[in-house]
């Protein structure tokens, strides 16, 4: 939550009250910087494309087996940089640029890469005065290093895939000593504000010191009464990338914007700086709670990725040579055979650190996902229950309230797995404690939920109340674990509890201590069905610059400036570790975070923060989660119903219907909204919501299997259509519908009063089946679907098999031993395949003991076969196959189950109107080998 309830925060400064009052109904943009107000962004952006002052000193080239180093020199200021090039296994290239001899070390991001990426040999193909040609592995790829000016091109065959510094925007502000501008004699050495300043353009070496003096923000910068003291002076870096043949780029979340990134000419760049934005606006490049500096570039031939490993404030400019063209203009180009190739140019600007870029060369979308996963890890495999429905509100008032909401779900026969407690549950916002009046018996409450096989999440935020009567604060103080201010004292800021300290999560000792606080004997009132939510971990500092921490605050020897975007990652990392440790490493954690960074996928779920009960916010939840999925974070969701304001009943219903088909499915509401538990809107709407939630629960086996796959391969669970249809240009900008895995296509209804939606069904020659009616539709068409309030347009791909548990119960754990129904949707060639994954749903035994069932289900030649994908795995399930539906089938004369060498007939029914064959109760155990023959 970002909003302040003034009535409950008596001690706020006047400044703060004004800040939040003035923004009662939408984001107050004035509270957040534009590029112009961020000194380094302004400096860097003022710098236009042209010839680069950087030159590669080829004579310095050194090549070890897999590492190439080369010095670069800025001819304007003679500062030397060191370029490192690596060929990484899995078709990736890493480019690092740092100062050759920095005054002191520059920050390099730790803990994000899961390991030092394995390299492959590089070899020099040719070398002359102008450059070097390197061979990149077996893919007939070459890397060309041009010397003057410095430039890198990655080629495959005759095609340039990607170029670096092709527009000459490499700029590296080297560390320097502060000049005493008063005492400095005239004519002293000039340091350009941006080292690559294009003085050649002006045709003279005009050492205009005055203009340098006037340059703001080199050694100090003030924004809205907050001064950033910048003791290290200017340290920013920038580099441009050209992507020939690319018109579509994606990623770099988190922004409340379309899936396809827009060009930023004439506006602000996309900003990556984790911020607690109060009532954010949609469709703009403003920074939000999380940052993942990964961009994907896609065309019909290839998908590539750029991973800019830097945790400082970052801005990304995108321009395109086709962006300005109208459809007619593009057609004209086509007709007249215009020679101009479409190209997208991207420029990354960060405030500090080094340039460390991973170029992921695909070529397929799935290759880019696995490449990125090999660097930063995959989505953590969540406990099955966390894929169920979550009921949250700021705040459930007390234990009685929790109990009555829990009972409400049973009375109205709506399943749910988790009920959540926001900040009011703690004693005066002292996390790890319970309000002594409202939640005096937490274990009793948790036991009550456990009796129903349900779970709870309680919030634990990273701001710690400065209060000498608070154990957590005292221990952090005594261990000296707080972030420090620029003067070396403990950094303090205002947050929910009032004056608060911020533990230094970048410190591994601090994280280990934090993790230990989740032990059952430390976290009083906790039990094994209590999980955690990390909010406000951007970090949010109500009275800080842009509602976050001062950049000159200190984390050990590093400035907050250097690590800002990964603070939230560390909070979630330490919390998840705590949950793992409390069970002795046996149980999977579940931690939700608001702030995130590259690698956060390893630690749990994220949500899109404090949205609003508005139709546009419902719509934007799709591209926001799609963008996150593309860069590794599959476990994403938006607050169902919208956090701020009260949703209309129709909006609430539509949001449940949409959320039921998004990975993280949680309803949440602001303290000031009216209650909105699903049964408060009349029996018809209760029924609609119940149905949406039940559809979710029936599909849990599919969701679980997809998360297992995401955990194994990095494939996103919720995906844009183009990921599976990479050559179909019609899919490239679609973000009002999406795929779950490869096999379900969802087009939620996100328009008020809608009577129909038009869904694009991709795949020429493919078919899709309406999951509710089993009606078959051809692929590669725009299909108009009339809708009523009960409609959730969902289609199953012909050629797929989806296991469901159609016996929906009150929580996922209650369904553990229930039988499966297989939905076999035949392709036009009468083929289908799918997978089934089963384990205990909550422990690490799938990993440590290979206790799981993983089966391949294939329908071919009129036979449906289950075969073992993991013969050395062992897990016993009591689940069995109760029914098989074959969509698009013809009527057999006989159906036989072959199992253990025996054949038994199976009853069946055939619905000729929809060509649906239903096999009645074949009854085999879900872990067995079997074949069903249609004869």
């Amino acid at each position: 939550m970002a909003v302040i309830s003034i009535e409950r925060m008596g001690l706020l400064s006047v400044f703060f009250v004004c800040l939040f009052f003035s923004s009662a109904f939408a984001v107050d943009r004035g509270n957040f910087k534009t590029c112009d107000q961020s000194a380094f962004c302004k400096r860097q952006r003022a710098f236009k494309p042209g010839q680069s002052p950087y030159r590669a000193l080829l004579e310095t080239l050194e090549l070890s087996d897999s590492r190439l180093t080369l010095q670069l020199i800025n001819d304007n200021n003679k500062v030397h940089l060191l370029l490192e090039l690596y060929r990484l296994q899995g078709n990736m290239t890493r480019v690092k640029i740092n100062e050759l001899k920095p005054l002191k070390p520059r920050f390099e991001v730790p803990d994000v890469l899961i390991a030092e990426p394995p390299t492959e040999p590089l070899s020099v193909l040719s070398k002359d005065d102008n450059g070097v040609v390197l061979s990149l592995g077996a893919e007939s790829q070459r890397l060309i290093v041009s010397a003057r000016p410095f430039r890198l091109d990655i080629m495959e065959g005759p095609e340039v895939l990607l170029s670096l510094n092709s527009r000459g925007l490499l700029a590296f502000e080297h560390l320097r000593l502060r000049k005493d501008t008063q005492a400095q004699p005239e004519g002293a050495e000039v340091k350009e504000s941006v080292d690559g300043d294009q003085q050649q353009d002006e045709g003279k070496k005009d050492e205009d010191e005055e203009s340098n003096k006037e340059e703001d923000g080199l050694w100090e910068e003030t924004f809205k009464s907050h001064t950033d003291t910048k003791p290290n002076g200017p340290t920013s870096i920038s580099l441009d990338f050209s992507l020939p043949g690319v018109e579509h780029v994606y990623g770099i979340p988190e922004h409340a914007d379309d899936l396809k990134l827009k060009t930023t000419d004439g506006g602000d760049p996309y900003r990556l700086y984790n911020l607690d934005v109060f009532q954010y606006e949609l469709y703009n490049p403003m920074a939000l709670y999380g940052s993942i500096p990964v961009m994907l570039a896609h065309n019909t031939q290839r998908t590539m990725g750029i991973f800019w490993l830097n945790a400082a404030e970052t801005w990304v400019d995108i321009s395109s040579n086709t962006a300005g063209k109208t459809v007619f203009g593009k057609m004209l180009d086509f007709v007249q055979g215009s020679s101009e190739k479409p190209q997208t140019d991207v420029r990354w600007i960060s405030e500090s650190g080094i340039i460390d870029v991973f170029i992921m060369l695909g070529p397929k979308p799935s290759d880019v996902f696995s490449q990125y996963a090999s660097l930063t890890g995959t989505q953590s495999f969540p406990p099955l229950a966390s894929l169920g429905y979550h009921q949250c509100r700021w705040n459930y008032n007390d234990q009685e309230d929790v109990k009555s909401v829990d009972q409400g779900f049973d009375q109205h026969d709506i399943p749910y797995d988790f009920i959540w407690l926001d900040i009011e549950h703690a004693d005066g916002k002292r996390y790890f404690t319970w309000d002594p009046h409202k939640f005096s018996q937490p274990k009793e409450m948790l036991q009550g939920l456990m009796d129903k096989k349900r779970k709870m999440v309680a919030i634990v935020d990273p701001h710690i109340k400065v209060d000498s009567g608070y154990k957590i604060h005292n221990e952090i103080t005594s261990k000296d674990f707080y972030v420090k201010n620029k003067d070396g004292g403990n950094y303090e800021g205002w947050c929910w509890p009032g004056n608060s300290g911020y533990p230094d999560f970048t410190n591994p000792e601090m994280r280990a201590w934090w993790a230990s606080m989740f032990a059952y004997d430390q976290y009083e009132g906790s039990m094994e069905n209590l999980f955690t939510w990390n909010d406000m971990n951007e970090p949010s500092v109500f009275n800080g610059p842009e509602v976050t921490m001062h950049k000159d605050a200190l984390h050990g020897k590093w400035e907050h400036r250097d690590i800002h975007n990964m603070y939230g990652l560390y909070v979630q990392m330490a919390t998840a570790e705590g949950q793992i440790q409390r069970s002795g490493g046996a149980e999977r954690p579940f931690v939700l975070t608001r702030a995130f960074f590259a690698g956060s996928q390893r630690f749990g779920a994220v949500w899109t923060g404090d949205n609003a009960a508005e139709w546009d916010h419902l719509k934007i939840s799709i591209p926001m989660c799609l963008s996150l999925g593309l860069v590794g974070v599959s476990f994403c969701g938006a607050d169902v119903g919208g956090f701020f304001k009260n949703p209309s009943t129709e909006l609430l219903v539509r949001w449940y219907q949409t959320g039921a088909y998004q990975p993280f499915f949680r309803a949440h509401a602001h303290l000031d909204t009216t209650r909105r538990e699903p049964w408060l809107f009349g029996p018809e709407n209760t029924a609609l919501i119940r149905e949406a939630v039940r559809q979710r629960y029936a599909l849990l086996p599919y969701w679980y299997q997809l998360f297992f796959q995401a955990y194994r391969t990095g494939m996103p669970v919720m995906r844009p259509l183009w990921v599976d249809y990479p050559k179909d240009t019609a899919t490239f900008t679609i973000d009002d519908e999406f795929l779950i895995g490869s096999d379900l296509l969802v087009h939620p209804v996100t328009e008020e009063g809608s009577r129909g939606v038009t869904a694009y069904l991709p795949g020429a020659g493919e078919v899709w089946y309406d999951v509710h009616t089993f009606q078959k539709h051809n692929g590669a068409q725009n299909l108009y679907i009339p809708v009523t309030l009960s409609s959730i347009p969902v289609f199953q791909r012909g050629g797929s098999i989806i296991p469901r548990k159609d016996r929906v119960r009150r929580s996922s754990a209650c369904m553990e031993n229930d039988p499966y129904t297989l939905y076999v949707a035949l392709s036009p060639k009468k083929f289908a395949e799918g997978k089934l994954y089963i384990d205990d749903g909550h422990s690490f035994n799938y990993d440590t003991k290979k206790e799981f069932i993983h089966r391949s289900l294939t329908f071919a030649n009129n036979a449906l076969t289950s075969s073992n994908l993991c013969p050395d795995c062992n897990f016993l399930t009591s689940s069995w196959i109760e029914k098989v539906l074959i969509l698009g089938a013809s009527k057999p004369s006989k159906v036989v189950l072959k199992m253990n060498g025996k054949e038994t007939p199976v009853d069946f029914e055939f619905d000729s109107s929809m060509s649906v064959l239903t096999l009645r109760k074949p009854g085999m155990n879900a872990g067995d080998d079997w074949t069903l023959l249609l004869q």
Binding site: I6, A24, D413, K453, T673, T674, R807, N817, E882
Partner: protein, 530 residues
């Protein structure tokens, strides 16, 4: 293959100590037993299809209405019947069969899940009977109390009705009295006004005469002062010594100017000085008492009044009109009252010491004044009495206009207040008026809503009261409170909560909602089943 094939289950029901055995498929209520006959194919209860009987409870859903699987979780829309002997029978959704959670107190829903359920029906039945017993007692007593309340209310209502009637009669008389006294007052005020005017006029004349006298004396004194050589004449040069008399204000009184003042004469005697005096008397500075300014006349009607300033700070508390009602949290009322109070402020008759006071009225005038004052007092008293009576009538009429329930059983709550103290707040419910909340340890009271309406369900709207339009919430709605009424012997607020922000819920017991107890023994009624 897992699943149970226990098609039939033996149900032991205990009724009045006689065990009876009834055989029927698991999960089927006795009322539907006849549809499940083992010897015949089963027809789904919706008639949609007929299946062999061995497909009943075979853990596969064949009927759209779920009726073939009353005892398994196979059908999404099925329901399971538990007999719960000793307690009350119930239906649960089939999805709760064998889900590891004990739902039926007789444990029949968890026959194959491994859940360790205990049969708690007897205990529950006992507890329920106790509760029902207690409830019945409360209802009984409460209902008796309610009858009394109805009696009292009816009596009270009649009394009030007749009181209003009486008062309206009295009011008529009072009206006439007021009119009569008004005439008396007006009749007495006319002669009073005339006598006062006469008295004032006489005094004005007297004052004028005195002033003239004073002027003459001053003139004579001046003459003597100016006549430096005491020759009985004031000469031009003698006059010239008083430069302040300079008509053109150039600082010197020239000879010609002085002569001008003296009407062209070289010197004047006392009688001619009378024509010079008016020209110089305003400027003249006496030599003996030079600092003393010439007496300035202050007309009596210019006596300084206190400055009337509407925006000034509030008047002392005594001046606040007493008709202000009790809810004084609204600051606006305060200022309005200031304005009302102002005309009643008495302007003190400040008399200047150098001005003689008006002589007292003569006896005749005073008598007229006294008579008029008495008439005024009498009139005002009568008028006040009339207003008070009006208020009383209005109040009673207002009270009578409230909906106090079908039998006026809620009348007794009117103008009462009930409090509940929680850990943080003191809640106060004043039925038909308002609900408020006050922090226990200091702080101002918050209005949680003023009386809105009865808002219970259609069949009995008197089960809920709605109080609306309380103090507004920051970024939220105005506070409101729903009061839920339940039968109880005592009239008391039993709990408060804020289920949704700024929407309060208060539980309130009162005999007024107690229903007439049914004349049946309040024991569990599972007779249907047995």
């Amino acid at each position: 293959m897992t699943c149970l094939h226990l098609l039939l289950t033996l149900v032991f029901a205990v009724s009045l100590g006689t065990p009876v055995e009834i055989q029927r498929p698991r999960g089927v209520p006795l009322t539907k037993k006849q549809f499940y006959e083992e010897s015949k194919p089963f027809t789904c209860l919706d008639g949609s299809r007929t299946i062999p009987f061995d497909r009943v409870n075979d853990d596969y859903c064949d009927c759209k209405d779920g009726s073939d699987e009353p005892g398994t979780a196979a059908c999404p829309n099925g329901s399971f019947h538990c007999t719960n002997a000793g307690y009350r029978p119930m239906f649960i959704p089939s999805s709760r069969i064998n889900d590891g959670i004990c739902d039926c107190c007789d444990t029949t829903d968890e026959y194959n899940s491994g859940a360790k359920c205990e049969n708690t029906c007897k205990e529950l039945g006992r507890k329920e009977r106790e509760v029902l017993q207690k409830m019945a007692e409360i209802t009984k007593e409460g209902f008796l109390l309610k009858q009394q309340l109805i009696e009292e209310a009816k009596k009270g209502q009649q009394e009030k009705q007749s009181k209003v009637t009486d008062m309206q009669e009295n009011k008529k008389q009072l009206d006439e009295k007021v009119e009569a006294l008004r005439t008396v007052k007006e009749t007495a005020e006319q002669p009073e006004k005339e006598a006062k005017e006469r008295h004032l006029k006489a005094w004005e004349e007297q004052k004028a005469a005195i002033r003239l006298e004073k002027d003459k004396a001053k003139m004579a004194e001046t003459f003597l002062e100016l006549d430096d050589n005491a020759d009985g004449f004031v000469s031009v040069s003698e006059l010239q010594s008083h430069a302040e008399l300079d008509p053109d204000a150039d600082g010197t009184l020239t000879e010609i100017e002085a002569q001008g003042l003296m009407g062209g004469a070289e010197q004047v005697d006392t009688s001619t000085f009378e024509s010079v005096w008016p020209k110089i008397k305003d400027k003249y500075h006496s030599e003996s008492q030079a600092e003393e300014p010439a007496p300035v006349e202050t007309p009596p009607d210019e006596v300084k009044e206190p400055v009337v300033d509407n925006d000034s700070e509030p008047y002392p508390e005594d001046d606040i009109s007493e008709e202000e009602d009790e809810d004084d949290e609204d600051e606006d009322d305060y200022h309005e009252d200031d304005d009302k109070a102002q005309p009643t402020i008495k302007t003190p008759e400040k008399t200047h010491e150098d001005e003689e006071a008006m002589p007292p009225y003569d006896a005749d005038t005073q008598a007229l004044i006294d008579a008029a004052q008495k008439a005024r007092d009498d009139f005002e008293e009568a008028e006040k009495a009339l207003r008070e009576m009006d208020d009383q009538i209005r109040n009673i009429e207002k009270e009578l206009s409230f909906d106090f329930g079908p039998d006026a059983e809620f009348t007794y709550l009117y103008s009462q207040c009930y409090e509940l103290t929680t850990s943080e707040y003191i809640y106060r419910l004043c039925p038909f008026n308002r609900v408020s909340q006050k922090p226990k340890y200091g702080g101002s009271e918050t209005n949680l809503g003023t009386w809105g309406s009865w808002s219970g369900p259609e069949n009995n709207k008197y089960l809920l009261m709605k109080y609306e339009q309380g103090t507004g919430c920051w970024q939220g709605p105005n506070r409101s409170t729903t009061v839920k009424l339940t039968c109880g012997k005592e009239t008391v607020v039993t709990s408060t909560s804020e289920p949704s922000r700024c929407e309060y819920l208060m539980e309130f017991t009162t005999p007024a909602v107690c229903q007439e107890p049914a004349n049946i023994d309040p024991s569990p009624h599972d007779h249907v089943e047995l």
